[in-house]
Amino acid sequence: MADFIMNDQLKQSLHNLLQSDDVEYREMSSDNKHAIIIYVRTVCDSEIIREFVVKPFWEIESESQYTQFIQSFPESSELTDQAGVVKKLLQGYVAIFLANQAFLLDAKKIETSSVETTAVETTVNGPQDKFNENLLISINQLRHRYKRESLRVELKRIGTYSQTNLAIVYDEQIVRKEVLQELKQRLSQVQPLEIQGVAEIAKLLNNQKWSLVPTMLMTERPDRTAKKIAVGKIVLLLDGTSFVLIVPATFSEFYVSMDDEYQLRTVAYFLIVLRYIGLAVTMLLPPLYIATVSYNPEFFRVQLAFSIAASRAAVPYPSFVEVTFMLLMMEFLTEASIRVPKAVGPTATTVGGLILGEAATQAGLVSQIMIIIVAACAIANFVIPVSTMSLAARLFKYPLILFATLFGMLGVVVGTAWFIAYLCNLDSFGTPYFKFFRKADQA
């Protein structure tokens, strides 16, 4: 009966759409009437559909009365343009197919009350919303930013005990099939007892047990996620957390802030270069200090060498102890200011800063130059916009410090070269992790 109103093209596109797990297709038939309703669950308000579409269907007796009832809503319109149906559905309309008529009813749900502003990845000019801890709301947010009909949502449950809802979202037309295949295969291999945060999945999916850098991008921003879907990446959304996981990820993606997309191109490039310099500073400054101070004092200008020598004169232990001590202090301070309750926060940093900055040099525990290096190192670290990478970068310097302590300048060079080789050797779901001129190679 209902087939009457649908042409083949529409059927085909509806069929495609239905592969998404959040698209609902319901057939209802009573004695004398028959209806099909189609809607996308994550963008429609189920309340509206229940109250104004489903309930009346059973309460109203004849089909013509039901038709009139539907028509009476100002949000409803008769479905005439069959090609546009899918688009409308994605915008939050319900399609109601009756025997010889079809209607579209606006049942859009926009989650505003429960959507919070970003806390970790803040931008100046960009959108301020972040994902919700409710999976359906998060998909709703995503669907509002990405309305292509080839967007697929696959729902899964993960965790034997926790049975957490997991959504795999991707654009079917541009996603790389082998990546999707591998992701699903790896997902089916892991059987955790319980999963609470999306980063746990990242850890489970990672082939390497000890990895220095994140190979999956974790973000809380719907806009970043939508942009990644548009270039064929796959998104993992987990119920109960506002962070999502994007695979595959490359090294450079961790150095792009969403602000770069909303700025002038020149400004954006400047900012990106700045972040890489920040990475170099935070990684190389402490080891270079050790290498020059302890092995090759002729590396620096004579003035600089003398002032380092003078300020180190009171320090009773070798340079690597000084560096390790100071860096530890700095890590304590960073950790403390993250963990401490917000009200006490400023006190902790002020006291810490005061003690580290002034008293330590006065007491002759560390040299003044060291304070500058540690401060530069700490600040440069936080220039990296994605928190997982920023935290990982805090760790990079320690192997290099070890190398510098043992081998001096030589150690710094070999350590850096090894680090670059290590990055090049990684891949994220078959995509090379660290590679230059990626765009040119794709073209």
Binding site: T292, S294, P297, Q303, A309, A310
Partner: protein
Amino acid sequence: MKKSVRFSSLMIGLLSLFVFAEGCEFKDIDKRFFVVGIGVDKPENSTKKYRITLKMAIPSGSIRMGSESFQNFTQNADSITEAVQLIKSRLDKEADFGHTKVLIFGQQLIKEDYVHPMDWFIRQRFIQKVAFMAIGKPSAHDVLEVQPKYERLPSNALFMTFGQVGVESQYIVTEDLYDVYRNNKDPGVTPIMPVIEAKQDHFQINTIGVLDRQKLVSVLSPNETRIINMLRARIRKGDFQVSIKGDTFMVHTDELSANKKAYFAATKPYVDINVNIQGVIEETQQNTRITETVLRQVQTALEKKVSHDVEDVLKKLQQQNLDPIGIGLTYSASTWDRKDVEEENWKKLYPKLDITAHTHVRINSPGEIQ
């Protein structure tokens, strides 16, 4: 269980690495004495060959003008290595030569020999090849003892002077260690070194000593120094004095270039020295009004004077068989003979080579007033 074993073995591994580091040569910057200058003299009353002075910097926390501190250590010995080892026995920290940038030969020593002590400098990898070389007057030790009031770091005054970071003077010639060495080895050029005269609390550097392959041969006058410096095209600024019609004009140059053109194929081989000078008049002594004609006259007079000076200096040096501006190199660079043939020919050719100078002066303006 397995995890903890692995972890503890990792920790033990790391700790042993640090023990290893202790065993290695891990010497912090504050455990080192920086030698900023080395002086080599001839001892006055000793049978030893050299008297070595090491100038050690003592870094101090606050860096203010005139607050620098250093200590000089002297030692008589037959070789520099021996002297350095003997001086080290008097120190509590390791002597570090990485920042040694001034190498000074005493006047008495260099009159006899500079090649043998230089061997140590050039052979040591830790001495920078860009260390400044100079002749110390009256002795290298005296030069290293001078403590200018305006100095913040030990020997910084000399670093600044020779590095041409600070002052730029037409009398100051900079010669680096590698420069002296390469000129000493090259038959087409002879090395020079600036002479530093130690005064009460400053230095005077306005002459150069011209060396042959073994020792100091002659010390040039300040004016000759200036000419040589100009011909080596290492400096752009300078002042020239010229007198005409009872007045004396000072000309300041801001563009100075010199090149040599050699005509060795001619029946009587000769070298043309072309000097180009551009500048302004800085001072007159009789307040002459400088009209266009006067300007032209000053130009021609200066041209004549400079050419004359250049020819004078070069001919004087030629008689002593010295060639600090490298006419021999020009010769080699323009002939196509085999290397040994070139060397032989040049030995015979240089003493009778004709040297002419052509100067082109352009005075751009008479200064702020006419």
